[in-house]
Symmetry: C2
Subunit: 665 residues, 2 copies
């Protein structure tokens, strides 16, 4: 019963505003320079014309920009704006009955039917005078003169000419009568992130495994060399597992052995020891100055460094002493370690988000982010955010981005779908996905369509990883080198954001700790590994080519244009992406079978892709340099996994024919 | 930036509550006795168990009923309640972390793995004590004793037995720890209407055309006889076009002639003359006492009378004199009549919803409804509601239903889809639809699926009409008697609410005023018609049978169970409906072709319809009494339009076989 008598004359209805996440509860996401296309259903009772506008402002500012909206079909209106600054924008929609437009429209019909009468012009004169009242200066004066002419003229031909004058129309419309304008229910929000939020290629490596001497613990100086290696392959983000001191109590040994031998390094996720906690550097890496130099070196190579933030503590973390009440105590006075009964993780204490000092804890955890931001870090990969309170994430991300809108957060939550989406709504800039386990054509098509072609895309930005230190999929374990090729091609072209955990990935590491497990044998999580980066079977070369193609083709820098296309072979998947201006069109074909050559016809919707129907066009393979002449919608493809499992085709829509040459003219 | 530090420990998230119209802006609709099944996505961080409940109240009451919710799949929870009173209900959802349930669940795992330790039982004891603090009386005492046992016992077997006691579990769960419970964002609303809102068969007739003597003006006494005629056919609502005095100025003549001859009755929608306006009775019908008797007579026949409310005025309506400012004045001092340039409707003045006295006008228009409610009317068919301000409808319907929750409003808005849906959201109990113009199988299937199987059904209740005084479709004009049969069968079985404009419908009236028009020739809108009700080709008999089947089969009293089924002939449409308890199953097959016999196979999803796969079943035709033995999912159907264009099949799922007989035992 929310109807009040105060808005009785607001006759325009506005509903179905888009983008709008959960009725405006959460912001939609964009990156710098993106276009925001706003739509709404706008209509009124009866037959009057209406007008509508979109009002946009930076959230922190009272300065609003008003943009006229245009009708499409079925009472849907639209307007668009570009976001040119980082941070938050807000927008709302106004709609109102436009009596002058109604009068103009009807008058034209009357004139056509020759049923216009003098009173019709008097009505117009009144409307023009009302516009003059809303205008000022010369416009007001000019409008009053026009009204006077309509009132005083007696020559019908003259009246018609004056009343239908385009300049009159435009001038009146500049002063709309918004007395009874309706405003959309709730201000919609947009959060604008750096372009990296939409387009990034991540390379994860364990800094401990970078020493030149096999078996030695890597330092930040060693890591600088690994930066060059990653940069040469064309990545633009390097991501390090936690770099903090590692707990000594209950430290894990190699292959997750509950007991470690002396000298074993332990898991980097068991954070904190006498040497410090989440704001400290593991001494074997070097000092904070070394870290800053490492970040600086990355920056010179156009790489951003992403840090891992894992909010949990080893039993010897300073927090455990200093903030006992941030952890859950058991009746025997001991602190509750992490467990998933009957499994126990005695090396890790989870924070208690129901702690009486939850507010103090939130502030300190925020301060961890701020500390690393002060060291030049702008990307955080957050470990298991779904095991910490949701409201904490909304608060901390919102607070941090208010001061540091350039900062990005990747949610490492491999959990149920509603939870993954909720974390994205709360503010995470990117999210891991179920991509590692989507290997068949139908499941890839269904999942990627959900992520890129439904309202999910307004808040959830996928980051596609074929492997992680926790995920060595059975597809990779079984499929040999072709499996790695296939997953690389899919990740890097289906995902404008993608990443690999290397060098395990490019060096085709595929031995699980045991059959049925997705854990790596001799995982770097628990030991130092030495990697032969220059092995001849490394995928390094292919990765370099793929990342190069991504960099040179805007089509591969967004997921919103993704379209799957028909093939007559279930092992061949085909899809396309286009740049926003549609000048750059990429078609990808991948043989999903790591074992056998597969061939078949792919069918492209030429009309939709703006490819001429009656001429040949060129498909240039960016992986091999091969150029194919394609004709019509159906074209043959054959892919041999022992050679290369995919085509990455840049489409040149127009090939020259005789009429294109000068001598023809 | 709506995050505050006050709710930090509320860890449960509630989203996706359903039913919820536009985020709670509008109520969902139900009828008396319906079940409301509420669903929501509810989850928390980490691995703790959660609990959730649904809280329901009558809107006017502070008394809430709490109903435990149950998890389904994918973090979706549900609970249901029945609405047993008319008017508005509100509901919200609570969710909270359930530490006792978490402890119980984990303890069972520990016991299974034989890893339970004394401290596990101490934790349980603390949780039980906390529950005792929330309980009182004997429960509190009993719980404290249980806690003590867990603390003091030393025999592991005993401990296990006490800790996993079902009574303990149930008792603790009765006292949940809701300190940090989350509440759904906005209270959701339900409006509960009488069953007529869901299940009604309407018969519209012009009271002017009911006199026994041809050419005479009908009276309410004549109309009483027509009531019997409608009741015999099995209708439960009779709807009359406006019964008010008709304006004399610019009165229309027969076939919409701009000028009327003396004695012509004019259009009932040109309301108001010296004899009164919207609260008066056209003198030729009789007096208000005659009207009350008519309503009383209807009631005796189990018929409700629906009145037409058309908010517009003839130029001689008393409102025009008494409330000049409710109408738009033109600069020459005349009042703006209705027009759709270049067409003019000088016999009708629209109300100006931007009038300075809009509030006074709203009150008076509301008073029109209240006046007729006082005369015993509970259903209003509202003429062209989309040409009056939307906010007026929301206000007036909400206000009226607060005092008179039994009152129903049918929106006669044949306009664009968003507008029709908006009117339904604002409060209209039923709505006319595009059904008159949906004649092909695909378009019927798509449209009815949208109306009955999407969230639209939560607020929009279709009322399906094959004809109205304004709509004589080309299908009816062309297709002869079979076309009327087809449209009747479809309307009455696709729509638990349907209506016909008679006797034009049952007497197969199909002459348009001219080719290309949907207006009737010699329309009753402008003249009195005499009808030969007993003509031998009347559809009266079929209508009676169909309405009887509707009354006897709950399946036909709802649209929510509608499912379309495959047929191998595009002229044969097949669909089914079931009662809520699934005991009543109706399958309808209609030959959409009015010209030729059509035959083919219909395919029923036996599994879904709970029909045995391995036995014959019976399809009893409620139209003819014929009984068919059907086998398996594909069965042959042949329909000859010169005989009967459809089957209305009641399915008897189980036929007896030898094992069903007593002697077999």
């Amino acid at each position: 019963m929310e109807v009040t008598l105060t808005d009785g004359r607001k006759r325009v209805v506005i509903e179905g505003v888009s983008p709008l996440i959960d009725g405006g509860r959460f912001p939609a996401k964009r990156t710098l320079g993106d276009q925001v296309r706003v739509e709404a259903d706008i209509f009124t009772d009866g037959h009057d014309s209406i007008a509508a506008s979109l009002l946009v402002h930076r959230e922190a500012s009272d300065e609003w920009t008003e943009i006229p909206m245009q009708p499409m079909v079925n009472d849907r209106w639209t307007a668009a704006f570009r976001v040119k600054e980082l941070g938050r924008y807000g927008f709302k929609v106004h709609g109102w009955v436009d009596h002058f437009e109604t009068w103009s429209r009807d008058l034209l019909k009357r004139i056509t039917a020759e049923t216009d009468t003098p009173v019709d012009y008097l009505i117009g004169a009144d409307l023009i005078d009302a516009a003059a009242d809303r205008a000022s200066g010369s416009d007001a004066e000019w409008l009053r003169k026009r009204a006077e002419i309509l009132r005083s003229s007696i020559d019908p031909k003259q009246m018609r000419m004056h009343a239908t004058d385009a300049l009159l129309y435009e001038t009146v419309l500049r002063y709309p009568d918004k007395r009874f304008a309706t405003e959309s229910d709730r201000e919609a929000k947009i959060v604008v992130d750096p372009v990296h939020a939409r387009f990034s290629a991540w390379y994860e490596f364990f800094p401990r495994s970078t020493a030149a001497d096999s078996g030695m613990h890597g330092t930040f100086a060693d890591c600088e060399k690994r930066l060059e290696y990653a940069a040469e392959m064309g990545f633009n983000v390097v991501y390090l597992p936690p770099i903090h001191p590692i707990g000594r109590l209950f430290r894990k040994g190699r292959n997750n052995n509950p007991e470690s031998l002396p000298g074993e390094p332990g898991s980097p996720w068991a954070i904190g020891s006498d040497e410090g906690g989440h704001k400290a550097i593991h001494p074997e890496f070097g000092t904070i100055e070394d870290f800053r130099r490492f970040v600086q070196k990355a920056s010179e190579l156009d790489l951003l460094v992403a840090l891992d933030i894992a909010f949990q503590a080893a039993p010897d973390h300073p927090y455990v002493r200093e903030h006992e009440n941030w952890f859950r105590k058991r009746p025997d006075g001991t602190i509750q370690y992490a467990e998933n009964p009957p499994k126990k993780y005695q090396d890790i204490y989870p924070f208690d988000f129901e702690s009486s000092d939850w507010a103090g804890m939130w502030e300190e955890l925020k301060d961890v982010f701020l500390y690393w931001i002060a060291q030049g870090i702008t990307i955080f990969r957050v470990d298991n955010p779904h095991t910490k309170a949701f409201s904490f994430w909304e608060w901390v991300i919102t607070e941090i981005k208010r001061e540091h809108p350039q900062v990005l957060f990747l949610a490492e939550a491999f959990t149920r779908p509603k939870i993954m989406y909720r974390l994205a709504k709360l503010g995470f800039s990117q999210s891991y996905t179920y991509f590692p386990w989507r290997n068949g054509k139908d499941e890839i098509t269904a999942y990627l369509t959900e992520l890129t072609q439904t309202p999910v895309r307004e808040f959830f930005r996928p980051n596609q990883w074929p492997n992680t230190p926790d995920i060595l999929t059975e597809f990779l374990q079984i499929g040999g080198r072709p499996a790695f090729q296939i997953r690389l091609l899919l990740a890097a072209t289906l995902g404008s954001n993608y990443g690999i955990y290397g060098p395990a990935f490019e060096l085709l590491e595929n031995r699980p700790v045991r059959h049925g497990s997705e854990e790596y044998l001799d995982s770097e999580k628990y030991q130092i590994r030495a990697w032969e980066l220059n092995r001849s079977d490394s995928l390094r070369g292919l990765i370099t080519v793929v990342n190069g193609a991504r960099k040179n083709n805007q089509a591969l820098q967004t997921d919103w244009s993704l379209r799957f296309h028909f093939t007559d072979n279930d092992q061949l998947i085909c899809y396309s992406k286009e740049s926003e201006d549609r000048t750059n069109l990429i078609v990808v074909v991948v043989n999903l079978d790591p074992n056998y050559t597969q061939s078949g016809f792919v069918t492209l919707p030429l009309d939709e892709l703006q490819i001429p129907l009656d001429r040949a066009y060129e498909a240039e393979d960016l992986l091999t340099g091969n150029r194919y002449l394609w004709n019509g919608q159906r074209n043959y493809v054959e892919l041999n996994p022992t050679k290369l499992s995919g085509h990455l085709l840049k489409i040149h829509r127009k090939l020259k024919i005789e009429t294109d040459f000068e001598y023809f003219l």
